[in-house]
């Protein structure tokens, strides 16, 4: 086990070095890093306290004191975006975690067994897929009450079939390969083969799907918050900020602009990151670079 780790570690560095030669990866990485950094800093420090309402400072346009202006309660927009980033990332990350943690084993299991197990799992998958994800999330949060935790669960559940399908598709293309036969001739069972051969070979697919689902998770969280089913006040969130800004669009367009940009740039950054990763992760392309 220990030397298995050392193998992944020493190649991890080289993968990263290669990734930084890809333009889309670098741009995506910078955008994502900025958002992550903002979220990280917000734990210790924000320019203003987002829970304190200073009504005398309300509806300030962007200035040196308030970089992104203030909202109708006099809260600092920049601070709110920082804390909102934390919220968005947490929701999306846990949702992707749920999706991967349950979806990938299910998909690999379906691919390894085949037959009726595969059929049952995948038809159930289709069933979950058939519901429009956001609408069902609205349903779940409406039943169990709005809040960040329920939003996470709702988004996470709809990530499961996505990952299950990607994992199964990838695994199915690996199983008929001759090196799997060779592994079976070496007496390895389906479980061990999945861990040793299938997962490393579909890891790039999963990673890329992961960044895409992460971006979609951020969008979904913003959507849920927008309709009031995500994080509850006073916890700031990007979606809620957009909703609040909506009625004041004409007077203070900057209120909608900044959270809107935050969402767009984060999603763009994550998609570029995923793109760059999928380009670099394939060892077959390694020689050509």
């Amino acid at each position: 086990m220990s030397d298995q780790l050392s193998i992944t570690q020493d190649s991890f560095g080289s993968i990263l070095a290669r990734a930084f030669r890809s333009r889309s990866f670098v741009i995506g990485f910078i955008l994502t890093a900025i958002v992550a950094l903002m979220a990280g800093i917000s734990f210790f420090w924000t320019p203003y306290d987002v829970t304190k309402l200073i009504v005398s400072d309300r509806m300030q346009p962007p200035s040196a004191a308030h970089w992104f202006g203030t909202d109708h309660f006099g809260r600092d927009n920049f601070s709110m975006i920082m804390v909102g980033a934390r919220n968005s990332i947490a929701v999306a990350l846990v949702a992707v975690g749920i999706g991967m943690g349950l979806g990938v084993p299910l998909g690999c299991w379906a691919a390894a067994c085949g037959g009726w197990i595969d059929e049952t799992l995948m038809r159930f998958n289709d069933l979950v897929f058939a519901f429009p994800a956001l609408l069902s999330a609205v349903m779940i949060t409406a039943i169990f009450g709005p809040g960040a935790i329920n939003a996470i669960i709702a988004i996470g559940i709809f990530n499961i079939p996505v990952f299950a399908r990607v994992a199964r598709g990838g695994a199915l293309s690996i199983w008929p390969r001759e090196f799997i036969l060779a592994a079976r001739a070496s007496g390895k069972g389906p479980m061990l083969i999945t861990i040793e051969h299938v997962l490393p070979n579909i890891a790039n697919l999963l990673l890329v799907q992961g960044t895409i689902q992460f971006a979609l998770g951020i969008l979904a969280e913003a959507g849920l918050s927008y309709v009031g089913l995500g994080a509850q006040p006073p916890m700031p969130s990007w979606g809620r900020m957009l909703f609040d800004a909506q009625t004041r669009m004409v007077v203070a367009p900057y209120l909608a602009l900044f959270p809107g940009f935050a969402i767009v740039l984060t999603v763009l950054g994550l998609n570029l990151l995923g793109d760059g990763l999928s380009d670099t992760l394939d060892p077959k392309l390694r020689r050509q670079r």
């Binding site: 036969l181 060779a182 001739a185 007496g187 390895k188 070979n201 060892p283």
Partner: protein
């Protein structure tokens, strides 16, 4: 006056020169064989004629095709030439056809495009040409899709598309490499007939000297982008003036030296009795299951320790299914396999460990048989999983180093990834992986058919040497009789799931008695026979 004239063709991509001053000509009604090992520039030459080169390629020299300067012609001119005056047949019939279009549409497409014929006329012509290539409409309607045809039938469709407009020149790039010997013989005969009928020039590209010797009037031998030797086939191949020609011819007919024949003593290593495997076929309806297909039909044979046995037959005759069952990767429907006295049928994976340790496998495709994400050390040590006592990392490294040494690779190769090796080296790694547990039996499924002739000779030598030195028994599964002849003591001929003939390799292949074996021997290309026949024809 020649149809195609290539003079001093140079081609480079980036800094590497792919072709260096290639000269070649084809006359109408002539078959020109272009031979060389992989990477010699054969296919690049063909692509230059069609002007289908990659963007980055820079070309110089002169290519004249019936008075047209190909290298100077504009794209519109080339489009008119491609498929009309120059046809092309590719190696892989599985991917050369569009899977969502019927064969009739695909043949008619080129006819309509080039002649402006209406749909009905084009279809009528498509019908004629498909009939000509052996796919009569009564049995193969135009509405068939590629997946409904076998490999050989698909290659016929590809030839029909290429020949539909009676091109002046047909380029065939390894047209039979993906097919078994019987289909190969049929396709080659078809190509020869089409050449004679239409006085078409044929540029036949192949790595197989025997095929070219049989087909070509003249031959051009290439190596790393240069023409080594060119001339009349029979003379060139019998005189072998150029050292590389001699080297190629020797490698094609290479027979490894095997002095010691392991005699049968003690109990049999492997015994197969009445082995049968049925596969369920597609359901007729929801409630009626289809008639099962019998892939292996009551096969019985035995092997003793150190024996080298060939299993030959056409593709789809059940060879690989039989091999999988012996390796316990597939369960027999009925019958029994016993290996070193232990029956394999109905055993659980943990009970099979003992047998698996003494029985390993080498696959055909040196590219597909390794996990691209593991290093050689991990790949070669995979079967060590079967040992009772897991070796320590140091022991493991030593065992891998020894296995690599045995197949002629260095210990420092274990830190590389498989894509850093050539095809021949990978097949060596594959053999190292099979050897590491010191097995008594290695099952090799077409182990050399994806390799160039010179590499093939080396790998056959390696197999023979390991058999002599370590006493490993082999079961070689192959459709190539040259390989069977070169390296095995005994041979079994398989046909439609049954073993129809078996005996000493030389006896069976020189005097086949069963119909299937006779056909197989007749269809197998043989360099010696081809040269002798050509020399006799010329007098």
């Amino acid at each position: 006056m020649s149809l195609l004239e290539i003079e001093g063709l140079d081609l480079s991509i980036g800094d590497s020169r792919i072709l260096k001053g290639v000269d070649l000509s084809v006359a109408p009604g002539e078959v020109m064989g272009l031979v060389g090992e992989s990477g010699s520039g054969k296919s690049m030459t063909a692509l230059t004629l069609m002007r289908l080169l990659p963007e980055a390629a820079r070309v110089s020299g002169r290519v004249t095709f019936s008075g047209i300067d190909i290298l100077a012609a504009d794209e519109a001119r080339m489009c008119a030439l491609r498929g009309d005056d120059i046809g092309m047949v590719f190696q892989e019939p599985m991917t050369a056809l569009n899977p969502v279009k019927s064969i009739g549409e695909q043949v008619a497409e080129g006819i309509r495009w080039h002649t402006g014929a209406n749909r009905a006329d084009a279809e009528a012509r498509a019908k004629t040409i498909l009939d000509r290539v052996g796919l009569p409409e009564s049995r193969f309607p135009l509405s068939r899709y590629p997946h409904e045809l076998s490999g050989g039938q698909r290659q016929r469709v590809v030839i029909a598309i290429a020949c539909a407009l009676k091109p002046k020149l047909l380029i065939a790039d390894e047209p039979t490499t993906a097919l078994d010997v019987m289909l190969q013989a049929q396709i080659l005969e078809l190509l020869r007939d089409l050449v004679d009928e239409n006085r078409m020039g044929l540029l036949l590209i192949s790595h197989d000297l025997a095929v070219v010797a049989d087909m070509a009037d003249r031959i051009t031998i290439m190596r790393s982008g240069e023409v080594m030797e060119a001339g009349e086939t029979a003379r060139t191949l019998s005189e072998q003036l150029h050292p590389y020609t001699r080297q190629l011819a020797l490698a094609s007919m290479h027979v490894p030296e095997r002095s010691k024949v392991h005699a049968a003593n003690g109990p049999n290593l492997l015994e197969v009795q009445q082995l049968t495997r049925d596969y369920p076929s597609r359901r007729v309806s929801l409630f009626t299951p289809g008639e099962p297909t019998r892939a292996v039909d009551h096969v019985s044979f035995s092997m003793h320790a150190g024996q080298s046995m060939a299993l030959v037959g056409r593709s789809g005759c059940g060879k690989s299914t039989l091999a999988r069952m012996i390796l316990a990767l597939d369960r027999p429907t009925s019958g029994d396999i016993s290996f070193r006295g232990m029956s394999l049928a109905g055993k659980s994976e943990s009970e099979l460990r003992v047998a698996r340790r003494d029985m390993q496998v080498v696959f055909q495709d040196p590219y597909g048989s390794f996990d691209p994400r593991h290093r050689v050390e991990r790949l070669v040590s995979e079967p060590l999983h079967l040992l009772y006592k897991r070796p320590t990392p140091t022991e493991r490294r030593e065992m891998v180093a020894r296995a690599l040494h045995e197949v002629g690779l260095g210990a420092d190769d274990m830190h590389k990834y498989p894509h850093e090796f050539s095809g021949g080296q990978r097949q060596r790694i594959s053999i190292a992986r099979a050897l590491i547990t010191r097995p008594k039996l290695i099952i090799a499924d077409e182990p050399v058919s994806a390799l160039d002739v010179s590499i093939r000779a080396q790998i056959l030598d390696l197999f023979a040497e390991l058999n002599q030195r370590l006493g490993v028994a082999y079961l070689f599964i192959t459709h190539d009789l040259t390989v069977a002849r070169a390296i095995t003591d005994d041979v079994m001929v398989m046909h439609e799931g049954k073993i129809v003939e078996s005996g000493r390799t030389a006896d069976v292949l020189d005097n086949p008695r069963s119909q299937a074996a006779k056909e197989l021997v007749a269809a197998a290309p043989d360099l010696h026979r081809a040269i002798v026949r050509r020399l006799r024809e010329e007098g």
